[in-house]
Symmetry: D3
Subunit: 157 residues, 6 copies
Amino acid sequence: MPDLTHFDEQGASRMVDIGEKPVTHRMARASGIVRMQAATRRLILDRQLAKGDVLEVARLAGIMAAKRTGDLIPLCHPLPLDAVSIAFSEVGEDALRIEATVEVTAKTGVEMEALMAVSVAALTVYDMCKSVDRAMRVECVQLEEKSGGRSGHFVRE
Amino acid sequence: MPDLTHFDEQGASRMVDIGEKPVTHRMARASGIVRMQAATRRLILDRQLAKGDVLEVARLAGIMAAKRTGDLIPLCHPLPLDAVSIAFSEVGEDALRIEATVEVTAKTGVEMEALMAVSVAALTVYDMCKSVDRAMRVECVQLEEKSGGRSGHFVRE
Amino acid sequence: MPDLTHFDEQGASRMVDIGEKPVTHRMARASGIVRMQAATRRLILDRQLAKGDVLEVARLAGIMAAKRTGDLIPLCHPLPLDAVSIAFSEVGEDALRIEATVEVTAKTGVEMEALMAVSVAALTVYDMCKSVDRAMRVECVQLEEKSGGRSGHFVRE
Amino acid sequence: MPDLTHFDEQGASRMVDIGEKPVTHRMARASGIVRMQAATRRLILDRQLAKGDVLEVARLAGIMAAKRTGDLIPLCHPLPLDAVSIAFSEVGEDALRIEATVEVTAKTGVEMEALMAVSVAALTVYDMCKSVDRAMRVECVQLEEKSGGRSGHFVRE
Amino acid sequence: MPDLTHFDEQGASRMVDIGEKPVTHRMARASGIVRMQAATRRLILDRQLAKGDVLEVARLAGIMAAKRTGDLIPLCHPLPLDAVSIAFSEVGEDALRIEATVEVTAKTGVEMEALMAVSVAALTVYDMCKSVDRAMRVECVQLEEKSGGRSGHFVRE
Amino acid sequence: MPDLTHFDEQGASRMVDIGEKPVTHRMARASGIVRMQAATRRLILDRQLAKGDVLEVARLAGIMAAKRTGDLIPLCHPLPLDAVSIAFSEVGEDALRIEATVEVTAKTGVEMEALMAVSVAALTVYDMCKSVDRAMRVECVQLEEKSGGRSGHFVRE
């Protein structure tokens, strides 16, 4: 099995040296699901009923969190992101799917940024709705696609 | 169905007024699972093989993220946390369970802090191991227990 | 004229000692105006035309900035805010008024937090609309009301 | 009227994709005014009387805020700034003018950084002097000049 | 030898639980020295020659860093500081001494905040003067005094 | 003596313009010492006795602080770091030496980032061990080597 690159030969954690890697255009797409009561989802999707736009608050939180990934994940490189977008869709009767797409022109990829955007957007949905449905759950936060780096084009099967 | 408290009558988002709520001791416990290849988990748990301590890096990231919850979740109140701890355990052959416990003496609870600690610890495990297992997945991020507020003692069934 | 309390006898800046001040409930209300083309304002207020909700983005930015006032204003005390809300209203044909209200139970007041919320909300309106109206202007950012401290109830005349 | 670029076709906010834009040298200059009592301004400008240097504190706050614009304005891109400077001048008897100039070599401009520097410098002047003049007001925060991007050279008339 | 309280029985790091500790007034005083060429110190102390006020920039940086200690030291509790001040004095011909005093009313002390204020003020002196004296050195960063907690009054001998 | 570049002709602080400087690969290496009781050092180095890994916590704190140097040192440029690593070694019987190496491909160097990494790692060692040895001291924080910029290769003699 290959080594964990975030540790050196003595086991010390480090921010891996990307100085020699080429600057390329890179993209990552991640997704996650917020499972909730069907009534909670109806409430979220009916802006009349909800009075406000839960998903827009979650979207902004996710975009802002993507920009702070380097502050939150200890060994991540800080990156000047080119683009971040977040989309929501319905899954069955009782879940929302969140998908974040992040792009950068840099020496390393943005999969952590995409996963962070999904996670913080999901937690914000939870925060906005926890007064009506405390048992919501975040599921299946995962990388969907990644392109532009040395490791080639990854697409989850 | 009750209202979403984060919106006012016109649907404007707001940070809810907690000025009148009593200061009490509050606790929240949240959990999540990182699903991975069995070989990846063996690598993480064998510090000899991994060369470094993946879980300690993830634990610190989770603790630090708990302290920044008010910066990341738009309508969360900033809180002076009393305690944060994070524990890892094995689930089946191919998953790690993360549990975060947060305590505070304040006017509002810390469930978002506990969920944030779990999420960022999980993403840090992903970051540390993504070079060997890109398809890892974060699952079941959920509140387990919550005590100390007006809404009473919540324990997930 | 009284002294500037943020300097000591030698002229060194300092974070003023509030250790002896009583903890009381404090409120501050600040306002500001964004002057723009009438067409820009019509665009903002017609969510159909704008496609999105400029004011909700600005509101969230203002609320989040209020929480970070202690990080941005060098000699401000960090405060655990109880409540933040932001309201928009129309002024004439070509301006939007922003009003922020912040509350805290603490040893010092929150007028800087209210002014910061207004300023960052105003700049976010600018950012969202600058592609159609680069000459927008932020005007009249000022304290409207302040209560709860030793200096008494301030209401702008 | 052109579209607001920060929303997509469905009205979702997003960080606009600048991946294809060329890296060029860009500059933005913004200004603002702090209106105050004439006595307050005399106090600020007479370092003997004030005991400390209000404007230097405000200048540093403005420069540091410019660096954090991407953290504060939700859909702004994080940018590696080349230069930030802030100048103060007198206006009439009762006002100070603040002008910030920001430069970058990047795919997008720095007008938000310049406006943020002015706003936070102005609020810091307020904070430093509020114990003697609570009714100060920030006025006319606006872009003065902008160069280097696709939209050409903007100079306020 | 007593245990390191930041680790639990299994060696996991944690933010120690201070929930049961009484809220008391606490103070910490720390100091440090910046050793430099005598000519560099003359330059710093002669504001005419230096053109600007190196020590005021360093002071503000130190105060702002004290407020962010909980963000920087992984297991520190975030604290609502009551007061921060920083003083400079001359030592011999070629050194500046920095002393920071921090106060809080809380369940835990502020020695890390005082040490952080000294360290960041010292590094800022370095940054301001490195173009003329790259070999400056920060020395003797240490706690001088601490009062208000269970461990009693500490004064360095 | 040359001028302090962080001040302009009027003595105003500023972030120096690096727009015209070439992008080159740059490296900086800094070191510092934490002086402590010999028993404290034995405790740190014996992970069995300490129960946890003090140095790994300090290492992560130092790496994360390096990434935030531009937020902490007022006139530093924000930089997209390529690599950060931190090593510990023993000095005599009662001290630990910390060495940080930072690399970047940018228009300005990373000596402040290396010094910040050393300082925050040192303070974290202090924080982890202060319950057993309050009199620990940080010494000799200094630049060891710097390469890649116009000022040539600096190696401390």
